[in-house]
């Protein structure tokens, strides 16, 4: 692929790699379904060890939180022309209803606004095909172009 290929297209080609390179995403079994310009769709399957309510067998809200955070991050990245380091500023999640037991959770995120420093992202999580019945909604902001250096977190903060 030539150098002027948009970043999101390069990401779409490397979709599986984006999950493989993130240990927690891999541990949850996340799958990138689609990456398009400023948008991402990522899924996670229901699993016995991810249950949050043993009485109902419903998947833990923490799994939905991690899936939404991750999908929002990928969407923000897919809105860039060149890769840069990012950091989550804040994440707000509304949990509308419990997900159905055994259902795959699909998160769809859209980075609807990118300024020089901040990416604004909206996302919904679904447990079925009905787009009018999400299980959760998220609003996130990411700082772009942070000064993250490789291995900097191996030392405690000053």
């Amino acid at each position: 692929m030539s150098d002027d290929t948009p970043l999101w297209q390069r990401m779409a080609t490397a979709g599986a790699m984006m999950i493989q390179g993130t240990p927690q995403a891999r541990a949850l079994g996340m799958r990138v379904i689609a990456i398009t310009e400023a948008r991402a769709v990522v899924e996670v399957d229901w699993r016995e060890d991810l249950v949050g309510d043993p009485e109902t067998g419903v998947i833990a809200s923490g799994v939905v939180t991690t899936l939404l955070d991750n999908t929002c991050g990928v969407a923000a990245f897919a809105a860039l022309s060149e890769p840069m380091s990012t950091a989550t500023l804040d994440l707000r999640i509304d949990y509308m209803r419990p997900a159905k037991k055994g259902a795959t959770i699909r998160a769809e995120a859209h980075c609807y606004r990118m300024t020089k420093t901040v990416a604004f992202v909206r996302a919904f999580a679904f447990d079925g095909q009905d787009e009018t019945d999400p299980v959760a909604a998220a609003q996130a902001a990411f700082m772009m172009g942070t000064s993250g250096r490789m291995g900097q977190n191996r030392r405690p903060p000053k």
């Binding site: 016995e48 923490g62 949990y95």
Partner: protein, 149 residues
């Protein structure tokens, strides 16, 4: 109307641990709890699986959020004297520092324990409690022991 003059039922660490022992996701993360007097601390021992950014490396933001959410649930469980697990309605997380690849701690404060809703604030830290890595505030739906499905 509930009897407000009743002595609150104290929950011990055993009961709390037993409740979380039954939650597979709490085990998946590896969250532990420590109770000293009425002060509850959640501890998330570091493991490689929790990483979200392998370059820095940094804990996954979702993991830090999930830790604080579980801490809130445990604190409500204590404040209620051990009833059913409350359900999260909404959470808002501020990320203050990237989580380093070390153990993380969290403590929660129930700002208001209403009849149906609890308002909770949580902070998570690693090296210095006064320098938190993240903060959460959220609303939780209380489930009574009887009634409500």
């Amino acid at each position: 109307m509930s009897d407000t003059s009743a002595t609150p039922v104290r929950v011990n660490l055993g009961e709390l641990s037993a409740m979380f022992e039954a939650v597979p996701y709490a085990k998946f993360l590896g969250v532990q709890f420590e109770l000293k007097g009425d002060e509850l601390t959640a501890i998330l021992p570091f493991k490689d699986d929790l990483i979200g950014n392998p370059m820095l490396p940094a804990l996954h933001g979702g993991v830090v959020g999930a830790l604080m959410e579980l801490t809130a649930v445990a604190e409500i469980f204590l404040a209620q004297g051990g009833k059913k697990i409350p359900k999260v309605i909404d959470i808002s997380i501020d990320y203050l520092r990237s989580g380093r690849p070390v153990d993380t701690y969290a403590r929660a404060h129930v700002t208001k324990l209403g009849r149906r809703i609890a308002n909770v604030r949580v902070e998570a830290w690693q090296f210095d409690r006064a320098d938190p890595i993240a903060a959460l505030h959220g609303h939780f739906l209380l489930k009574s022991d009887e009634g409500e499905a």
